[in-house]
């Protein structure tokens, strides 16, 4: 790929990017969230058209205008969020699209034989007749790889393939990758996990803010150098002073169960407490019950057994409004779906929960004070650095970072005793992330208890006064936020 640029409106997601991948190598794309890795790959796969630049395959210039062309050219991608049809079987998912077979009807026997051959050759063990919903995340990934190979992929793109896997599964994945390059396939590996990058790569290209920083050989570099090139600054410890809170707990969970048979979407005997003025970080790989934990502590779902108490008071009514009454604030994991009313204005979203109060309406909500709402919103926009042309603008039209600031402003201004923040900086740029973190620390220092749930390990390390590790719905251990034992925590995150 030469001189690739991609513009969305005024924003360059990629600018003048060069990338070359040799046959039989694992080429890693390294970069932070929003560095432009996914955009670049979407161009290679034909989902986006580059604004400028050319793509060469085996020395010949190609134009990839659709995913089907990419498939025909032997480029296959395994997306971070799997592209599998859940209501279909493994077998059906693999043959879907099936360009390289003919005939009207599905020749199950022949296709099955082809797939089994491939799966044996590369050690990709799958059960063909199970539905996608019935198999594990690791198995789903093997299906994705098998699917790409079945469609004739010579160049395989793996987008953050280890994000949802346990350590053992990651080992298995690496074994498969080695087999693939051994057979002359090429792999573009996208990741920001240093350990894995150093482990498997042949060459590494670092992207930052849409541009290539450099391409280096694995042999000629080390983790520290890569990290500083990736972030553009030296890695340092936490910016924030850690605290040990001895204050009373604001929330306590006592052996809480929710759908405990489910490894990915349940909780099994979770007990924890968050004290006034501390940040408790929940570390763990995505999909180990974090979603359920956040929803339980905010009243969206009710536990199947066990107890929750606020300020030592036992909770009987599981309903978000009752929890909000008790002083719980929530920065939900999906801000557009769960946090904001996209079609309402910034101002409306800022006062979403408080229109009935005397500050914003007369006679118990019977007449809204629109001027007061406007004044308040402009004040908040300033205080929380919400960049918008006007507070009357639809909140949908703001950038992710500014949307998150709207939620943060609303939640923190409600004067909560507990803040539940789920992935509060996901998809945010560095500046916005920093701002969100600063606000959370300030809230902690005011005495707010904060439950921080994040799949971003660095964020957990940076922010937490105490760290709890969650794995398959269970709490695996508790660690101090001051000088946390990183190795131990990483192990706990994988279930050991």
């Amino acid at each position: 790929m030469e001189h690739i640029s991609k513009r969305f409106g005024d924003f360059y997601a990629n600018r003048d990017v060069d990338l070359s991948v040799a046959r039989g190598e694992v080429h890693t794309l390294l970069g932070e969230n929003g560095a432009g890795k996914s955009t670049l790959m979407n161009i290679l796969i034909g989902l986006y058209q580059p604004t400028e630049g050319k793509i060469f395959l085996n020395g010949k210039e190609v134009r990839i205008e659709s995913p089907s062309q990419a498939v025909a050219l032997g480029i296959g991608m395994v997306y971070q969020h799997f592209m599998l049809v859940e209501a279909m079987t493994v077998f059906e998912n693999i043959i879907l699209g099936g360009r390289n077979s003919s005939g009207i009807f599905i020749d199950r026997e022949a296709r099955r034989k082809e797939i089994l051959e491939l799966s044996e050759r590369y050690g990709l063990d799958v059960e063909l007749d199970k539905l996608i919903t019935e198999i594990s995340v690791g198995a789903q990934q093997r299906v994705e790889i098998l699917k790409a190979l079945y469609h004739g992929a010579e160049l395989l793109i793996l987008d953050e393939p280890s994000a949802a896997l346990t350590d053992i599964e990651v080992e298995g994945l690496f074994a498969i990758m080695r087999k693939l390059i051994g057979e002359g396939k090429s792999i573009i590996f996208i990741s920001h996990k240093m350990r894995e990058v150093l482990h498997i790569s042949d060459r590494i290209t670092i992207l930052r803010a849409g541009q290539v920083v450099t391409t280096v050989d694995r042999a000629e570099t080390d983790g520290q150098a890569l990290a500083s090139m990736m972030i553009g600054r030296e890695l340092s410890g936490s910016h924030y002073e850690k605290r040990v809170s001895k204050d009373r707990p604001v929330v306590r969970l006592d052996r809480v169960d929710y759908d405990k048979a489910s490894k990915h979407n349940g909780l099994n005997g979770v007990s924890l407490e968050v004290r006034q003025g501390e940040i408790v970080g929940i570390a763990g790989v995505d999909g180990n019950g974090q979603t359920q934990l956040a929803q339980l502590v905010t009243g969206v779902i009710a536990p199947q057994s066990g107890a929750i108490s606020f300020d030592e008071k036992h909770v009987a009514v599981f309903d978000p409004s009752a929890f909000i009454e008790s002083g719980v604030a929530h920065v939900p994991e999906d801000r557009n779906l769960q946090g904001l009313i996209g079609s309402m204005s910034v101002a409306d979203n800022l006062v979403l929960k408080s229109t009935g109060t005397s500050a914003f309406s007369k006679w118990r909500g019977l007449l809204l004070k629109k001027n007061a709402i406007g004044d308040y919103s402009r004040k908040m926009a300033q205080r929380y650095d919400i960049r918008c042309t006007s507070v009357d603008q639809d909140v949908r039209s703001l950038s992710g970072g500014n949307q998150q600031k709207v939620i943060l402003a609303r939640e923190l201004e409600s004067d909560p005793s507990l803040l539940v923040a789920a992935h509060p900086t996901r998809g945010l740029d560095i500046g916005a992330t920093r701002f969100v973190h600063d606000q959370m620390i300030a809230a902690r220092d005011r005495g707010v208890g904060i439950l921080l749930i994040s799949a971003d390990f660095d964020e957990i390390l940076e922010m937490s006064d105490r760290i709890l590790v969650i794995f398959e719905g269970q709490i695996m251990g508790e660690f101090s936020g001051e000088n946390p034992p990183i190795e131990e925590i990483s192990l706990a995150m994988t279930g050991r």
């Binding site: 905010t298 996209g342 929960k353 118990r364 918008c388 042309t389």
Partner: protein, 358 residues
């Protein structure tokens, strides 16, 4: 600035749609051998040409306003009430019973009729609402099925239970119970005043009260509303009941003011027309009422047009239908990112700079 831009787009799309629909209507008229200019002149004259004509237009707009406000209110809360027609009819049936069988007449009876109509309509609307929140069922299909049931039930009433001698229709509402005209010489009655009052009340409720604010939030995004502590099931059921009550009130008012008796075809088509008007009016109660007047004007005007030029009245139905086809597509179009990009390319980047302005 931002508000202005939004209301400008909200205004331009329906207006362009109406113009486009009339343009196609004119072509059809020409194809039928009439002069479009002349036909449109008669259309306009028929609708607004005299005090009497204006009165007729407003009188025809009245029931449309009720069903349009009914559709508007439910949709504001994110549920599709396609049962306006059934609720309208059931309201009129209830009112008819009170008017003919309660034994009282006069203004008190009229008020009782209106209350009965609203209650019956609300009850009829509660069925799809309740099935939606308890069984998660598709409220659209249920509410439409109930339209047919209501129409058939009304049939039972005017062919059997309240039948007026040999004719398949009910007796007329006693004169003392009827809603009087507001101005002599113009056909519209107090029903119009009630409709406008309901519309203004809805506007106030939706945009100036805390509960209305929350109801709109529920309509836009139910998940976020639940996460933010709003009792969404209660809002959905209530909005269905209120929406049904508005239509039921409309049915009662139409019976007492204009139709005076139940007869085959009473209320037919008002439900879907209401949905159309609410959508063209962008779910704004006041705009919705104006659209209702526009629809009514087309209908009254087209009678004059047919008499004078021979262009059939159903041309006006086509124009109405085209307005909805164009305006809904138009609203989707302006929301497309490609359209925004196009707008920016053509009109430059005014108002896109970042930063807070006081």
């Amino acid at each position: 600035m931002e508000k202005l831009k939004r209301s400008l787009t909200a205004f331009i799309v329906p207006v362009l749609s109406i113009l486009l629909a009339f343009a196609i209507g004119a072509v059809i008229m020409a194809l039928l051998g009439a002069s479009p200019v002349q036909a449109l002149q008669y259309l306009l004259k028929g609708a607004f040409g005299s005090r009497a004509n204006i009165g007729t237009t407003l009188s025809r707009a009245t029931p449309l306003m009720f069903t349009a406000l009914c559709a508007c209110f439910a949709y504001k809360c994110g549920v599709f009430n396609l049962g306006g027609e059934g609720q309208f009819i059931i309201g009129s049936v209830a009112a008819c019973y009170v008017a003919l069988r309660s034994g009282i007449t006069g203004p008190a009876a009229a008020i009782l009729c209106l209350i009965a109509g609203a209650l019956a309509g609300g009850l009829w609307g509660a069925v799809p609402g309740a099935l939606k929140i308890t069984r998660g069922q598709n409220e659209m299909i249920i509410s439409i099925m109930l339209n047919y049931v209501a129409t058939l039930f009304m049939g039972v009433v005017y062919t059997n239970w309240l039948r007026d001698a040999s004719v398949p229709q009910t007796e007329a509402v006693p004169e003392a119970t009827q809603l009087p005209r507001v101005v002599t010489g113009m056909r519209f009655t107090w029903a119009l005043v009630i409709a406008v009052a309901v519309g203004l009340l809805l506007y106030y409720f939706l945009f100036w009260t805390s509960t209305g604010f929350k109801l709109r939030a529920v309509g836009f995004n139910m998940t976020a509303s639940r996460f933010n502590g709003f009792p969404i099931k209660r809002y959905i059921l209530t909005s269905f009941i209120v929406s049904g009550a508005i239509a039921g009130l409309g049915g009662a008012a139409e019976l007492l003011g204009t139709q005076l008796r139940l007869i085959n075809g009473f209320g037919a088509g008002y439900g879907f027309d209401g949905v159309a008007m609410a959508l063209i009016g962008q779910l704004h109660p006041i705009a919705t009422m104006l659209v209702a007047v526009f629809f009514a004007a087309l209908r009254t005007g087209s009678t004059t047009m047919q008499a004078a030029t021979g262009v059939p009245t159903s041309v006006s139905d086509i124009i109405q239908a085209l307005v909805i086809v164009f305006s809904v597509a138009g609203m989707a179009l302006v929301k497309l990112p490609e359209f925004e990009a196009f707008r920016l390319r053509v009109f430059g980047k005014r108002g896109r700079k970042e930063g807070v302005k006081a």
